[in-house]
Symmetry: C2
Subunit: 350 residues, 2 copies
């Protein structure tokens, strides 16, 4: 049976929510990933050191890790199960003193244009360089990466492509700021990677697999509805090439985004695809089908380690080419491929 | 109060379904329209004279008209309420003798590419001229118009534009055949009208109003999900210009397509927007807002009369600029603008 081992898989873009939903979904990521970049778009969004530290604590509790209190350290558990939540703040025009104070607690700052996706109402309403300069200069000086949800308010199929000049402007004016184009969905975004040395990108699993055809080409499929929306076949091809060829500026970020089933199947369905529990298995199947399994390690971990200078806790995930039937739901959440059989399974995590 | 009178409004593309659904929706069209072209995609589709005649009878019963039996003629009712179901057959490669036999019962033949929309599995799987020639030549000789759902199996946003060469080929090879591009959604289709004298088009209400943004740009809105899917802003602009300027080759066809609420809001929602009961009111509002109310008569009746040589029964519908709150549902069907207030109401039908 074909098998493949991944070392320290990282999910560089993850939504864990809070409360009961956090309890449901956090263990599904911590089981197979060494760590994940945690999005701050809670209600209200994470904008203070206290909120961030408290949220990290809740995440660690939900994953069964309580290693932030030294007296509770359990080394055996750490070896097996430790999961590092890499915390982000919700972008605002923060003063430098605040950023200095919070620096050691945060991994990055996530910027949302106002209202562009779930719980982003408090985001940035105009990309005014003079307004943003003090914060972005302080972030560059303190080496705090800027993660961006890059969409304009334009026509849904053009929103990401229209945002490219903003990425270009920011990358050019803040050459020492590390800027990550999150969950890119277009050929235009892939092409940006080679234009600016300080621009990087994450790509989700679902955008490697689907186009708008899968969402609205047959029946309407709410569980594949996400933001940014899946684009055209040529866009998916560009994303797939970048991932399969292990483009060194591209990292896996699932953007796994749980919503309760009733919110997804209601009239006016919420945006998000839930992939955390099946991401590594489906990535193995995808890379193997294209004869590129040897490049998956770069996509799911090494590139992120190089880009961000990370040293994740040791975790080794062995996957095998054995069919796995995806559960119809995890708690109230319906995963991608619910009830379908995928080709690879997780054999062992150590 | 502003008012506007329409004479003999015609809906040149309508789905009435069958059974209980037919009973629910037929009176909503017959109330305000003089007649409608009835689509044949029942299960099974309408492919014989007997089925077609029986279906017409069921429609007339559902609208309260039984004028096909002379002894039941009620002239007062005819004046007020008569509604002409213009019947279509589901395209197959019919022999000439069959078409001659059925000629007097049918208005047109509707062609679906196989599997392209609701109940179209038995449609045409390849546009082979040699296969189609005998039927299309007979249709041209017998002056039976060909109505086409023009989409390929390509990427959902390209399906209609990709179909244009097929329209061109058919229009060129069968210059005496009247061909109608049904429910067009793109600028490419509008441009085809000026290239071939025997090509015409219907346009729905919803494609004059919405783009893909309305379906999937914010939350996912299943009640606006239809086939062909709503396209880009520049496509809607082209459709709107053709309608507002009363392009003589363009006719109103609502493509009003009822589905029960549970089929629309389920995971895997069915395609179709239900507009029949509010179409004339919203068209008045739209044309008035653009200062083109004087062109609405051409769009909703005169063009179709000229193109097809129709003489509809007299019906006069007076609309006024008075707010109307659209019901949340008609039977099990949720209409467009459900629960919202539109600007115009029907004042009187006579």
């Amino acid at each position: 049976m074909k098998s493949h081992t991944l070392l320290m898989p990282l999910d560089m873009h993850l939504h864990l929510r809070d409360g009961v939903m956090l309890e449901t979904v956090a263990p599904l990521s911590s089981y197979s990933f060494s760590g994940a970049v945690i999005m701050p778009n809670l209600v209200p969004p994470v904008t203070s050191k206290e909120e961030l530290v408290a949220y990290k604590e809740r995440i660690l509790n939900a994953t069964g890790n309580r290693v932030n209190h030294e007296d509770e350290l359990d080394f055996e558990m750490m070896d097996m199960d430790y999961f590092e939540p890499m915390m982000t703040l919700f972008y605002q025009h923060y003063p430098r003193e605040f950023l200095e104070d919070v620096r050691d607690e945060i991994f990055a700052i996530k910027l949302y244009p106002a209202g562009i996706t779930t719980n982003s109402e408090g985001g940035v309403s105009s990309f005014d360089l003079d307004m943003m300069r003090p914060t972005l200069e302080a972030m560059a000086a303190l080496e705090i990466p800027l993660l961006i949800h890059g969409e304009t308010e334009g026509f849904v199929m053009d929103r990401e492509a229209e945002f490219m000049p903003i990425y270009g402007m920011l990358a050019k004016h803040f050459p020492n700021l590390k800027i990550v184009m999150e969950h890119i969905t277009t050929k235009s975004a892939v092409e940006m990677l080679d234009k600016y040395p300080n621009l990087y990108a994450t790509i989700t699993l679902h955008h490697l697999l689907i186009t708008l055809d899968d969402v609205a080409g047959g029946m309407l499929r709410p569980h594949l509805f996400c933001k940014p929306i899946a684009k055209r076949p040529e866009d998916r091809e560009a994303l797939l090439s970048a991932a399969l060829d292990a483009h060194p500026k591209v990292m896996f970020g699932s953007d796994s985004a749980p919503h309760p089933k009733d919110k997804k199947e209601a009239c006016g369905c919420a945006a998000g695809v839930f992939t955390a529990p099946i991401a590594l298995q489906v990535l193995c199947e995808l890379f193997d089908r294209h004869g590129k399994l040897e490049n998956l390690q770069a996509f799911v971990s090494d590139n992120a380690q190089n880009i961000y200078g990370l040293c994740p806790e040791f975790k080794e995930v062995t996957l095998v080419e054995r069919p796995f039937t995806v559960p119809s739901h995890y708690g109230t959440v319906v995963p991608m491929f619910a009830g379908e059989t995928i080709g690879w399974s997780i054999e062992e995590v150590m």
